[in-house]
Symmetry: D2
Subunit: 346 residues, 4 copies
Amino acid sequence: MKEIGRVGFMEKPVPEPGPGDAVVRTTKALICTSDSHTVQGGIGPRQNLTLGHEAVGIVHAVGSEVRDFRPGDRVLVGAITPDWSDLASQNGHPSQSGAPLGGFKFANTKDGVFAEYFHVSDADGNLAKIPDGIPDEAAVYCADMLSTGFMGAEKGDIPMGGTVAVLAQGPVGMMATAGARLRGAGLVIGVESVPSWQKLARTYGADEIVDFTQEDVVERILELTDGQGVDTAIEALGADVTFQTAVKVTKPGGTVSNTGYFGEGEFVHIPRVEWGVGMADKTIASGLCPGGRLRMERLLRVLEKERVDPTLMTTHRFSFDEMERAFEVSDKKLEDVVKVLVGFPQ
Amino acid sequence: MKEIGRVGFMEKPVPEPGPGDAVVRTTKALICTSDSHTVQGGIGPRQNLTLGHEAVGIVHAVGSEVRDFRPGDRVLVGAITPDWSDLASQNGHPSQSGAPLGGFKFANTKDGVFAEYFHVSDADGNLAKIPDGIPDEAAVYCADMLSTGFMGAEKGDIPMGGTVAVLAQGPVGMMATAGARLRGAGLVIGVESVPSWQKLARTYGADEIVDFTQEDVVERILELTDGQGVDTAIEALGADVTFQTAVKVTKPGGTVSNTGYFGEGEFVHIPRVEWGVGMADKTIASGLCPGGRLRMERLLRVLEKERVDPTLMTTHRFSFDEMERAFEVSDKKLEDVVKVLVGFPQ
Amino acid sequence: MKEIGRVGFMEKPVPEPGPGDAVVRTTKALICTSDSHTVQGGIGPRQNLTLGHEAVGIVHAVGSEVRDFRPGDRVLVGAITPDWSDLASQNGHPSQSGAPLGGFKFANTKDGVFAEYFHVSDADGNLAKIPDGIPDEAAVYCADMLSTGFMGAEKGDIPMGGTVAVLAQGPVGMMATAGARLRGAGLVIGVESVPSWQKLARTYGADEIVDFTQEDVVERILELTDGQGVDTAIEALGADVTFQTAVKVTKPGGTVSNTGYFGEGEFVHIPRVEWGVGMADKTIASGLCPGGRLRMERLLRVLEKERVDPTLMTTHRFSFDEMERAFEVSDKKLEDVVKVLVGFPQ
Amino acid sequence: MKEIGRVGFMEKPVPEPGPGDAVVRTTKALICTSDSHTVQGGIGPRQNLTLGHEAVGIVHAVGSEVRDFRPGDRVLVGAITPDWSDLASQNGHPSQSGAPLGGFKFANTKDGVFAEYFHVSDADGNLAKIPDGIPDEAAVYCADMLSTGFMGAEKGDIPMGGTVAVLAQGPVGMMATAGARLRGAGLVIGVESVPSWQKLARTYGADEIVDFTQEDVVERILELTDGQGVDTAIEALGADVTFQTAVKVTKPGGTVSNTGYFGEGEFVHIPRVEWGVGMADKTIASGLCPGGRLRMERLLRVLEKERVDPTLMTTHRFSFDEMERAFEVSDKKLEDVVKVLVGFPQ
């Protein structure tokens, strides 16, 4: 990203690690819709900023204080790299360390991962070794997609056998669907209109699909839940209307779990009556992708034991020198793209 | 309440208890702003409905299945009388039993307590004996004011020594203030403009008072918390602007706890940016006054051990035959009224 | 059960329902090891008590106050039938209503389900309709096996991708294994020595099996978790030594979740050093099988959507007139029995 | 501590801070019973180890990476100084970072605070500035006594208006008593036999005192709770018999919260029957004193706003050159000592 609205290649020096840090040589990366948000100015003006926050690679160099990682280690780094001793981290919210959303550093407050080499702060706290059985192109999904999608399910406080609606089946929504299944949901309803995405959502565990272009979503979800509404509604799009639907389809005492990034408007709107005029025990939870070594190790275990196969979401593959086209496909959502995988020269 | 907008006395027969129920002879009652909402049509049209949901009295009669209560017992009944075997109750949300807000029966789906006698369903589950040391005029505050205000603090998930803002210091706000202190808050900031209410709020534990007519509330609260915002913001008014302020003054990872009834507008508005674009780990909790015997027994213990003295909120006293004037004072918020206590003939 | 140590058939009249109750005509039932405990005097002396607490059937009669069930409905009833308005239920612990373990009424404080007809209190709160797609012989597993086993996983507070050990793979252990998988465990280690049970445990989701007759369980589990211990250890046997192992293999900050019934000895022993001398943030949770309509409906949804197939545990089938032999097989654990299903004449 | 069983003064060089660390010049310190445990060999052999973990002082020097502290700052440091990026910290259990109880470094894995200067790792994460209104001799109580005692209350999950028993009213027990009050307990029962400690316990909020030399503790606590037992029992002694009592007096569904250090025996004993044979929903929680800047800031706020005055526990004062006598008084529990404050030369 050269400035708002303009992207392209740049030459930059290979970064140097500080005492606790590492530099990683990128092998695979994924393009995220938030990269598009960033280019459009969603997080404010940025100049000559390297984009990208989903990557795996090989450790190239480590600082003198790093204990557990060595050059040559194959590693995953979360999209979010918290400052673990910050007050927000001590408070249980590492993604908010330093500032609101402050754990989000790559392609925000420092250069991102769409480069041959990238810098990782606090290597011992933020890297995770990739077990042998997991290929790079699977592991890279843990950085953001699994972590964010699963968070939607975890914050949704799904009871065993409970009912869940996941609103929108993009890659985060699909992983929220898989996450809802992994938390023991008894009924997972996916809302989606694109046929190929609907199909993939079913593969990831949606028991029912509601197509908002064909039917009234609120009505249909109430029908599927005997008029009660769901225990948990996961917003996985970041659209005001979807958020409103989430509130409406959640039963009294249930939880709306937000994973979406809201990029527009002064307000996000809670429908007053369906929110029970503020008194129906409906909780609205929200969060930013959890990061850190422990999180990444646990997500890698989920892959290692084949609970979920995220590589089904890889609809497009490009090499790093095709990055501009790769970005265009993701940015403009061409060809029913789900996720674009970028391979780096080795 | 005879119809929307019109109140007055009516003659009705003394109710009969079903097998598990009780009939209580009223001794003291409190008037609530929700009674005004009801008269204004806030819960829809009602005809010839007895108002009132905050009362204590003497058991007059019990059904054949009632185990623990006998005529002559001095008792408290919660404003909310849940159906305890309902699915919502089994789900941990008894106030939502039967329907959204369905535990709210008095002066809603059945006659209320502004009568010489009133009916209580499931006496063993919903009544509590008043210990000898607690006068009626104190115990009656447990029915709604303590239960709702404390709920605001409890759902706010206040850390020991944490920071709390309570937005508006009406009677529920004052009890939320007291509740925040009882949960171990290290700093309680009350927002209020009426001088006599400010003073009472300090008595109930507000360490700081912010007067929204004199200063910018958001700015001032951030200043009082070293720019960080509070751990918990309790909305205790039910106004959209106050709710927005609550979101703004809450730190990332903190909780907005709503106790207010929102009576107007299609939407309640979440300020998008200050909500962290949906990603700042800010939780919005909400609820309806908890009821039931266990809750009432615990609240009575709080009074018995003199943790809080709610009778300081009694600014006005009337006898039952002055009910119309009593209601007018409460309804129009005359003479800096906080709560109006109504005594019944014995 | 005629008295301690003696069982046999008896004639009793068909029970009558009270106003809120139902009488159910039994179709299928399962024999439980707790039935053996009861006969051995585990819950004290009982005379002429009908045994059994796991059953499904057809509603035969309902009381006048029952709203949602009618004669002819095919229903499941939980092994535990709480008094929903009791103080323990209001406190979130319905299985403890009335008295410690007081929700356990069948074959304890009232006649059980090994009879052509049995009585269910609070039909609306304690029965659940069985969806058409689920056969009786599957649904009957929800009453206790799924509910108890899943509880072990739920109370274990398993993090997504976390590590879990389930100590003993009897039927409750197998369902705890399945439950751990349903809660998103990344590694489930089952401890078991019987080969056929090991095999079934793998089918239900054990990633690794540790045979305590072949290796040191603590050592092996530490090895499987890189020396860290598990996030959650589920005790599913009720043996002191197993409980001790559970504490030992749990990492600091982890949870020991107990589902076992401890029938012997004055004490259950916590190994002092491995418990971190009382300071290692290890939580010991415990509980009794959750019951109630909501729980049963959720468990039935788990079966309906084919998350788990409990019928694989049915190693033996008998008709009601073979009950004595059926009980003997279960009681003496003959022929690698897992569960014995009893069919009633229709 | 020179070796097990022998203490005395030693000369050591003033420590140097690493890049993120600080060196603090001690002003006030408190002696803890765990110092005695250490000298007796409770944590294994140690040689020439400086004792002490409760201190405040003035920053003497900081490393180059420290952002928020400067020489001259008056500071508090928690007894526990976690490694915040460790996996246990990421898991929400910083006191267990590095190893079980690994956050406990002072006088364990590094020199303690009974010295003119001591070293603090991760200054930004582990120090807290002391507000002007709080004297050193009050602030020093936050390091361990408030943090541990309050933890007992917090982990006890006390409901608003709930019942609590605190077993033993030593300094941690007194702060657990104060903590129980700060969490909103409606009844706090302190168990203690020493008259001067009983009196102080009442000052800190014990509503009732049970003297175990005069009456049966279990019987008396059941009597005080209408036969139900308490919601929460806090073990604040570290004795097997006290722990057993805690289990016995806790109601089904309640929590035993352990703060005590268990120094003896192979096992800690759970009374089987009173634990509900493993099925009464009684949770046993445990933990080690929480540390870190956020915790210390919150505790200081509790002092600043005068919620609790810990200085009432200071029964003895000595200067640093009287350290040997000071230690003897604490170690041998002479003269009804509660806490011994040590002043350092300035």
